[in-house]
Every structure is written in C-alpha cells, then in structure tokens.
C-alpha cells in the first residue's frame, strides 16, 4: 500500500475531522480524494504540518489530526519535543512513513533506513506512540480519536504517488473556510 491507498482508507474516519495536511503530494492526493472545508492544505513551507496542527489543537477543543510525512518530520524533528512537553488530548499526529521524499521523486529518507521516528517520538517524551502497518492505519486513527490521550501514529507504507493536480485554490480561501469550520 502506498500513501494514496492509506489516505483512501482514512477518508471515512477523517472526512469531518479537522485535518492539517502536509505540503505536496499528500495535500494534492487528499484534495483529489475528498476536498473538505475541514482540511487545511499546506501549499508551501515543508516541515511545519505537525507544528501548525499542534498550535491549532492547543488553541481550541476540537480534535485535530496532522498528517505529516517522514521526510517532513525529519526537517522539523524538534517539534516532537514541543508536542511531547505540552500534550493535548485532542491532538493526533499521523506520520505517513514511506521512507522517501515522495513529492520530489521518491528519494530515500533516513527514516526508511536506520532511523525510527516512533523511537524518536518516544525519546522526545510522547507517551502514546504506535507504529502500524499501512492497512492498520485507519483503525489506529479511529482509536486515537476515541482515546482521551494525545497519540502519535507512525504508518509504515510503500513509496509512491498517484498523479494528482496541483491545488489551485487561493490560500486565503483555504484558510478562511478552514477557520469557519474550526469555529463552527
């Protein structure tokens, strides 16, 4: 299963939840599969999906799912320490770990080699960290939404992308409709 397959299984679970989605292929695939006002698409700024999602979870009570990638987490790994030290029970961090920089041509990341992002999250102090296979990911996200505890999920899947168009929506439109959904 590649990221697109994982996202497809996630749709019934996350469709009406607040989702902050990583730049590039993840956002484009999610947009094509199930565009929702409850989705915040990152059009730039690699590495900040986890931080944006965590800021959102801190500011209000609705559940927030940040969908990040292994390459992006590696660029902003220290945010796991911020997240661990200020835990928010309404926050779920889903790291789709395909061991590659998917949006740039599937170059390998260190997470696909010797580095375990689940071990990094635990070492940072995150208490509930699970590593799951691609097919068990939707179940893990569903369980995390029901649990009264912040959860970090590392979903191990295969490398690869499905062609999806660049998101043409205006960034202000993305932000404003997302904020209306958050406040609604």
């Amino acid at each position: 299963m590649i990221r697109h397959d994982v996202l497809k299984t996630l749709i019934p679970v996350i469709s009406d939840q607040m989702v902050v989605c990583n730049i590039g292929a993840p956002s484009q695939e999610l947009f094509s599969l199930d565009d929702q006002p409850t989705n915040f698409y990152m059009l730039g700024t690699m590495g900040l999906a986890s931080s944006i999602g965590f800021g959102l979870a801190t500011a209000q009570a609705k559940p927030v799912i940040a969908i990040d990638g292994d390459g992006s987490i590696l660029t902003n790994m220290a945010t796991l320490a911020t997240i661990a030290n200020n835990p928010r029970s309404n926050f779920t961090l889903l790291i789709i770990d395909n061991g590659s920089y998917g949006s740039t041509g599937d170059q390998p990341t260190y997470a696909g080699a010797r580095t375990s992002l689940a071990a990094v999250a635990r070492a940072c102090g995150c208490e509930s960290v699970v590593e799951v296979s691609a097919k068990d990911t939707a179940g893990a996200v569903s369980a995390a939404l029901q649990a009264d505890e912040m959860t970090v999920i590392v979903s191990k899947c295969d490398s690869g992308n499905v062609p999806a168009p660049v998101i043409g929506m205006n960034p202000i439109t993305i932000r404003e409709r997302f904020m209306a959904a958050v406040a609604g």
Partner: protein, 168 residues
C-alpha cells in the same frame, strides 16, 4: 531581573488581545520572557527553532487565538521561507518582537554580521518594521500591534542594545 519596560511590553501585548506567544530566547529578551511566564492571560509555548514557532503561531491563529513570537534577529535567516510561504501567503497577522543584536553596545563581534542584514531582509520581504532605539519608542507598541491585525501581516519590532540599556 525584569524591568518596568518588560512589564509594559507584556501588558501592551495582553491589552491588544495577544494570548499565545512562542519564543526562542535571547539575553536581551530574558526579562520580557520572565514576565511572560508570570502572565496567565498569555499562553507561552517555547519553540526549538523559529520556523517551528511560526507553524505553532499559524495553527494557534486558525484556532482563534492571537499569536506573537519573540526571537533574535539572527533567526531571520531561519524563517524567511516560513514568513513568505506561510505567514504572508495565508495572511496571518504576526507581531515579531525581535532582539536586535549587533548594534552599538554589542559585545559579540559575530552578532554584527547578521545585524548588517537585518533591515535588508525585512525590507526585501516587505515586512513593516519598527526600530525601538530609545525607551520612548515603545510608546508606539499598542499602535503597531493594532496595525498588524488590521493589515493581517507579520510586523517586526526591532529592539536594540541602547533601548534595553536605557529602559527602566
């Protein structure tokens, strides 16, 4: 040891409705961070790097809070992409209280190197920039904070060594 100026800056931020601040410390900001940590009306969430901080601020803003960031001018080298592609692109108001190291009174030569680039970077990014050089300059802070919200832009408040030395 916090000064009256530190209390005044935090008071102005709180009065403006700022309720979420992330920071990466600087010696010149130690007093203002100390007062921040004694101010329950503002949630302080330190970040490890300033671009991470901008992500936290963007999320907090979309969740209904009013964020600000405290950082050193050297961090402008870190946050250029986050400012352009997140804060500016999505039009998120963000006051940046910046310790302006490397100006007259600076004891560390290396700090001068980024001081030389500080205003040029802010100018290149078309970020409204205010330079606090004497304590009286801080009278402008409430207006600057309103301005950031009105135009939904990041704004830079540069606070140099002379400002902090003269501040009571």
């Amino acid at each position: 040891m916090a000064k009256q100026m530190d209390r005044r800056i935090i008071g102005d931020l709180a009065d403006n409705g700022v309720d979420f601040i992330t920071s990466v410390p600087c010696k010149q900001l130690a007093g203002v961070i100390e007062v921040l940590d004694q101010t329950p009306a503002i949630r302080h969430m330190p970040s490890n790097k300033e671009d991470e901080g901008m992500g936290l601020c963007a999320g907090a803003y979309m969740g209904g809070m009013r964020p600000a960031i405290f950082m050193q001018n050297t961090a402008l080298g870190v946050v250029m992409n986050s400012l352009a592609t997140l804060i500016q692109f999505y039009q998120i108001p963000l006051p940046m209280l910046i310790s302006y190291r490397g100006e007259v009174g600076e004891p560390v030569a290396c700090q001068v190197e980024m001081a030389l680039h500080t205003k040029a970077i802010l100018n290149q990014l078309q970020i409204p920039t205010y330079h606090f050089h004497t304590p009286g300059d801080a009278d402008e802070l409430p207006g600057i904070l309103n301005h950031a919200q009105m135009c939904r832009k990041p704004v830079a408040i540069l606070t140099d060594a002379s400002f902090w030395r003269a501040a009571a």
